[in-house]
C-alpha cells in the first residue's frame, strides 16, 4: 500500500482512533499490512493496548494525580517561556524603528525617555528619524543600545531610516509631496522641555563625538 511518506506513527495511532479497531491480533495484522513501516511500533502498541484494555477502571491516588498535573503544568510553562524568549530576538531582528525596539524590550517611548534622560518628544523625534544622524551624540546611542538590549550598530541602523510623518493621515492631507521636517540634535535639545542642567549635559556630549563611527 502506498502511503504518505511524511506520515508519522502518531498519525497512524490517530487513524486507529477514527475507526472501530480492537486490540486483537487480527486487527493488528490488518494495520501492519496497511503501514508495514510501523510494524514494530504497531505490535508493541497493540500489546500494551490489549493489556491496558483489561486493566482499566482503577482509581488514581490523589498524590499521583497531583504530581502528574504539576509536572505537566510546569513543562508547559517552560515550553511557553522558551518560546517567548525566542520570539523577542526575532522581534528585535525585524525592528526598523526605535518604537519597535522598545516594544521588543518590553518598554514604551515614555519609559525609554526616562531611562535615557531625554523627554518623550525628543524620543519620538528619534523614532521618526527626524534628527539628523550626523549630530546625534555617540553617548546617546550607547545608552539607547544598553537600554534596548541591542547592538550600537542596530541603533544607528534604525536611526538612519528616512524621516517619517507623525501619522499616515498627515501625509495624505497635502496634495504635494509631504515634507517631513528634520532638525539637528542640538536644535532638538534646545527646543525641548528638559531642565537646563540636563540640556547642558546633552549639549556637552555633542563635543564628545557624534554620528555613526
Amino acid at each position: 500500500m502506498i502511503t504518505d511518506p511524511n506520515l508519522t506513527f502518531d498519525d497512524v495511532m490517530t487513524f486507529i482512533l477514527e475507526e472501530k479497531v480492537t486490540p486483537s491480533h487480527e486487527h493488528l495484522l490488518q494495520w501492519i499490512r496497511r503501514y508495514p513501516q510501523f510494524s514494530e511500533e504497531l505490535a508493541d502498541y497493540f500489546a500494551e493496548w490489549a493489556v491496558q484494555e483489561e486493566m482499566d477502571g482503577e482509581v488514581v491516588a490523589e498524590a499521583r494525580s497531583e504530581r502528574f498535573t504539576n509536572i505537566g503544568v510546569s513543562h508547559a510553562l517552560n515550553l511557553l517561556h522558551v518560546r517567548k524568549a525566542k520570539a523577542v530576538p526575532a522581534a528585535k531582528a525585524q525592528a526598523t524603528t526605535i518604537a519597535q525596539l522598545c516594544k521588543a524590550a518590553g518598554l514604551n517611548l515614555a519609559s525609554l525617555a526616562q531611562r535615557t534622560r531625554l523627554d518623550e518628544e525628543l524620543v519620538m523625534k528619534l523614532d521618526l528619524c527626524r534628527i539628523m544622524l550626523s549630530g546625534i551624540p555617540r553617548r546617546l546611542v550607547e545608552m539607547l543600545a544598553v537600554t534596548l538590549g541591542v547592538s550600537i550598530a542596530e541603533v544607528w541602523h534604525v536611526l538612519s531610516g528616512p524621516p517619517r510623518a507623525t501619522s499616515r493621515g498627515a501625509l495624505q492631507k497635502s496634495r504635494q509631496r509631504a515634507q517631513v521636517k528634520t532638525e539637528s540634535f542640538e536644535e532638538a535639545i534646545r527646543a525641548s522641555n528638559l531642565p537646563l542642567e540636563q540640556k547642558n549635559k546633552w549639549l556637552r556630549s555633542i563635543d564628545e563625538g557624534t554620528g555613526p563611527p
Binding site: 508519522t8 487513524f15 477514527e18 491480533h25 487480527e26 501492519i32 500494551e48 490489549a50 482509581v59
Partner: protein, 265 residues
Amino acid sequence: MSVLVTSKLGSLKRPVPLTQRKLSGEPYVRFADVETQITEVIQSPIGEWPRIIFRDTRRWKTQTLVYLARQSIAQEQVFGQLLSEILRRASKVLGHLDKVFDPTTLELIDAELAKTLAALIVIEIPTRTSEYLEIDFKGKVKQLAHKVTAAYKAHPAPNQILISSKHGDRPDPLEAIPSDDTPYSLLAAKTDRGLIRRLLKAVTDDRHRKAFILRKMRDWPMYDEDSTVPSVLRHFGLRPEQRRTVQYWIERAEKQMREAYGEEQ
C-alpha cells in the same frame, strides 16, 4: 492549535475550526456539544473564563477545556488553571497503570506522559494528534499511554514484581490451589468482564499477565516463522526454543487467577 481566538459570524463569536483531516479525507470536526460549550464561554473576555468554568467544573467537557486553554496561552494565570484541570482529568484515565508497573517505572511513565500531553496542548503547529484532543480526549490520552508504556515493556526486572507480591504472609497461591479444571471457560468466553479484570489483577508479574492476555485472550500465536507476524515470543524478545518459558508464565498466571477466583466464590 488554532491560531486565532475566534472568527465572527454575525455578532456571535464561533470556535475556530480544526485544520486536520481524517484518513478518509473528511475534515476534523468537534462534537456539537463541545462546539456549543466553547461558543458559550468565548462570548466572555478570557479573564472571565475561570469564573465561568470553575463555578461548575464537572459540567464542561475536557475537549472544551483543551480549546479554551489553547486560546488563553497569552494569559498565563487563566491558562495555568485550565491546564491543571485538563491534566488532573487525564491522570484519572491512567489508574490501571498502578497495577501494571512498579512504582519507580510508574513515576517515569507518568512524567513522560504529563510532558507529552502538555507539549501537545501548547503545540505551535497543529497535528492530527494535537487536534484529536479536542475530539476524543480520553481516547487520545489512553493511546498516548499505550505508546509511552510500550517503551517500558522490559520493566520491571523480573524479580521486582515477585518480591513485591501483594499476598503478604499468606501461603503461596501455587501451593494452595490445586491445578484442576477450575472454571476457566468464564475467562475464555469473556462473559463477565468485571470478573476477568479482577482476576487479572491477581497476577503478580506483569509479563505473566501480558503473556496470558496476548496468547489466551487476543489470540496472538506463540511463534510464527513469518517474521512479519507478531508473536508472543517475539514480543518478549525470546527465541522459539524458549517457548516453555512463556508457557510457564501463562500457567503461573492461570494459577494465580484460579486462586483469586476461588476466593471470590
